[in-house]
């Protein structure tokens, strides 16, 4: 029996046009032994939720630079719940003002990271969250 791999969907919602950060994270998670489903730019919350369902992921990692995180994140949480995937952990990276962090955690986001975040920390947090 193969040991259970952590499956992570890495998505870039919103309209801003580069995904360098998302790709860096995707590779770091791969190097930590995870299976990363990379979906590319300009994903709507609906697209992200559909991919998360089909891929039966443990984690959804979002990279949001546009400042639209307070609109996007709650919507994604809501859609995952509606699909029966309330157990999926959500991690968010990007330029996120301090005052939003608490609110994001409140609605069920497991981790929030700024641009200078250490990938080691993110990996450790993901592993801990999935282990429950």
């Amino acid at each position: 029996m193969t040991d259970k791999k952590i499956r992570v969907l890495v998505a870039k919602p919103g309209l801003d046009g580069h995904d360098r950060g998302a790709k860096v994270i995707a590779r770091a998670l791969r190097d930590a032994g995870m299976e990363v489903i990379y979906t590319g730019l300009r994903q709507t919350p609906e697209m992200i939720a559909e991919a998360a369902l089909q891929e039966d992921v443990d984690v959804v990692g979002l990279s949001v630079l546009s400042g639209a995180h307070m609109a996007l994140a709650p919507r994604i949480v809501e859609l995952l719940r509606a699909n029966g995937q309330a157990d999926v952990k959500i991690f968010l990276g990007g330029i996120i003002p301090d005052e939003d962090w608490a609110r994001l955690k409140e609605i069920g986001v497991s981790g929030v990271y700024g641009p200078g975040a250490n990938t080691e920390d993110i990996i450790r947090d993901i592993k801990a969250a999935v282990a429950g």
Partner: protein
């Protein structure tokens, strides 16, 4: 309700979860496969392989759209990408090219890491195909790891194997030599918008003639016409010459024709009896693989670790040949 019942009822979350169980080869996954097996055998299994970056994912995207548009078939896609041999992790990026398929409940895309398998598929890809087949998908498209060599595994799994090439891949002609022509039921020259299509197509044609002579050729021999019947590789399947189709995956040019070619191949298999033969050959391989694995497990369980270590030591010290050691161990294990 069991997972397999939920799947027969068309529940997508249950399907996604069972795919994970089956991919990880868990007891629950195995039990579900037993329940689902009587419901399999209906889907058309289409393999898509070819050089890295040839446009396989982009083409699968277009093919799925075309299946929906012209035939309203339910389409499942399994996209396999390589796992890192060092960390066991993977970045599965084929979905990036399939965003047009979003929002259609009759399409289901699943990404899969190869997890150390070398033949272009993962160990459990065939089992995922069974789940989709039982779930009522009419077509299951499997995109292999892009390796440019003969992806042997996909030929065993698919009814119809589509090989995708494109101009400007540099060493594509080299890659093509590695037996890939022999596995193609349909050949695609993608990126037909790029310069060099003619050359790629010409190269494919001449290699096709080399690897698969047409059955009947008329030669002029000393002024008289002679008909020559060349040997066929898959003679039992009758005559099928792989068509070569140009496509542009960006805008779908050539895709309706590609789909027609795939359908023609399926019809041909059904009429020639090749369909049943391929099914039988595939299940034969599967059965043998399972028996081999099970026998090995039982043998190991019956044998003491010391006996094995001792035999290995004897071989290392050249006291016994590996063949002798194997015979001795087998006798001991059977006791």
């Amino acid at each position: 309700m069991t997972l397999s019942q939920a799947i027969l009822n068309g529940e997508r979350l249950a399907l996604a979860r069972l795919l994970t169980q089956v991919e990880n080869d868990t007891p629950q996954g195995r039990a579900a496969l037993i329940e689902l097996f009587p419901h399999t055998g209906k889907a058309h299994l289409v393999g898509v392989t070819g050089s890295p970056g040839a446009g396989k994912s982009s083409l699968v995207n277009q093919l799925a759209l075309q299946y929906r548009k012209s035939q309203e078939k339910r389409v499942a896609i399994i996209a396999v990408d390589p796992s890192s041999p060092f960390t066991g992790g993977a970045v599965l990026g084929d979905r990036v090219r399939m965003r047009d398929l979003f929002g259609d409940p009759n399409i289901f895309i699943r990404s899969m890491a190869s997890r150390g398998s070398l033949g272009g598929l993962a160990q459990t890809t065939a089992n995922l195909v069974q789940v989709f087949d039982a779930a009522g998908f009419d077509v299951v498209i499997v995109e292999t790891v892009g390796a440019g060599q003969s992806e042997v595994d996909i030929v065993r799994l698919a009814h119809t194997t589509v090989v995708v090439e494109a101009p400007g891949l540099g060493d594509d002609i080299q890659a093509l030599k590695a037996g890939i022509m022999e596995i193609a039921d349909v050949l695609v020259v993608n990126k037909a918008d790029r310069p060099g299509v003619e050359n790629t197509e010409k190269a494919l044609k001449s290699m096709l003639e080399l690897s698969r002579p047409t059955t009947k050729r008329t030669l002029k021999h000393h002024g008289t016409e002679m008909t020559v019947f060349a040997p066929q590789e898959k003679a039992e399947d009758g005559v099928w010459t792989p068509p070569i189709q140009r496509t542009i995956a960006f805008d779908g040019t050539g895709v309706p024709e590609l789909l027609e070619a795939i359908e023609r191949h399926a019809d041909y298999l059904r009429q020639s009896g090749g369909w049943q033969r391929r099914e039988r050959a595939r299940l034969d391989v599967e059965l043998q693989t399972l028996i081999r694995a099970e026998l090995l497990t039982r043998f190991r369980e019956a044998l003491s670790a010391q006996a094995y270590e001792k035999a290995l030591e004897d071989v290392v010290e050249r006291k016994m040949s590996p063949w002798q050691a194997a015979q001795t161990l087998l006798k001991e294990g059977a006791r």
